[in-house]
Symmetry: C2
Subunit: 222 residues, 2 copies
Amino acid sequence: MEEKEISQAVISRLPRYFRYLGELKERGIERISSQELSDIMKVTASQIRQDFNNFGGFGQQGYGYNVEYLYDEISKILGIDQMHQLIIIGVGNLGQALTNYTNFNRRGFVFKGAFDCNPELYGMKIRGVEVRPTEEIENFVRTNNIDIAVLTIPKDQAVPMAQRLVDCGIKAIWNFAHVDLDVPENVQVENVHLSDSLMKLSYNITRYEKKHGRTGNGKTGS
Amino acid sequence: MEEKEISQAVISRLPRYFRYLGELKERGIERISSQELSDIMKVTASQIRQDFNNFGGFGQQGYGYNVEYLYDEISKILGIDQMHQLIIIGVGNLGQALTNYTNFNRRGFVFKGAFDCNPELYGMKIRGVEVRPTEEIENFVRTNNIDIAVLTIPKDQAVPMAQRLVDCGIKAIWNFAHVDLDVPENVQVENVHLSDSLMKLSYNITRYEKKHGRTGNGKTGS
DNA sequence: AAAGTTATGTGAAATTAATGTCAAATCATA
DNA sequence: TATGATTTGACATTAATTTCACATAACTTT
């Protein structure tokens, strides 16, 4: 039985549905129609129904969707009903920030190890986890069943590091390095390219100003 | 004369082109064809040509594209030939990490101020910039011509803060809070929802394992 | 300067995604 | 249990995006 592939466009929308459903659940709301959700989330009701239907019928005609049930189903689809063990590679500012972001913990992402190539950091503790030398990564990943490696190291180091992670059987890489990683299809990669995001913002500022006749600050001017 | 609107799908690809062109430029490569770029970037040559053509003809038949010229043109399109003054609101781990990320500086994003509501942090210096109380934001934005506010505060604080920023004339918000901001169309918002990104990764791990018959770690198990 | 090659720009075709529509199922109510 | 209101799920339609294909322009070489 062949499962039909769901487009990444749909997947990208699921976390947002999940977030809104979580809020509704928190507020004690038991049921919701696609139309109501449409009003709140500012997407068409049709898209909401279509999106949910990719995974089977979660709703009931004449009633709508049960908030808690839908929430749980989406969490299963996203795989966050499962535990994920993760390690951070690169204990710089960003690495530490992510480590300290406790919300991930609540969603079943368990921070198991931290690695850096700077000897001065060895032994330092972040959220109870000791920073270790990067040489120990392979062994650690294998013995601790690590699923996800968070890459917060400079881009030139990221490429060989990704290869090492692939070789020792990592399942996924959450990549914050500003480089594209080339990995086999059994390893999942999710890129967070912050500067790309900032450039998009810059584009939209510029576009708006062009359209409305305001000017920006020339780089040489003042 | 009406400029035709460029789709966000195209805009999202520009930073990646920009990055690859920057690398080519660094390596001293002067010209490149859409086919060569296609091989390197793993997108179709057709898409590359189509994308660039949205902004006018940057290439030359029989020759290809001049790397440096194309690089400069894209930087203009993205608006990163202009200076952008920015402030950070929320000097937690993530806020500090972003502040210390020097690459933004190189691209014309100038870190001008830092704000927090925790009095213990007032006066602390990050990259030479003093942390100030959030009450001072409005005045600071107005007198220092701030374009972009980086929001790294909890989501419940983010919504009223966004309103304050809108009211004092900010041009754009780079939003790291896990909430959707509702702002008028003259204010640009770019969201970085890290947990959405992590959920997408989780989905892809789960999908791969389902397809290939491996199992994850049950949340209750181990 | 002519011939052959290369590679863009563009319009058309194909694919993918989003939206609109409605029959059928369920709910609420009397 | 019948009636009317509600709302999904499926399908049809429309829109957007990507790919294809080729005429045309510029380059390169002799």
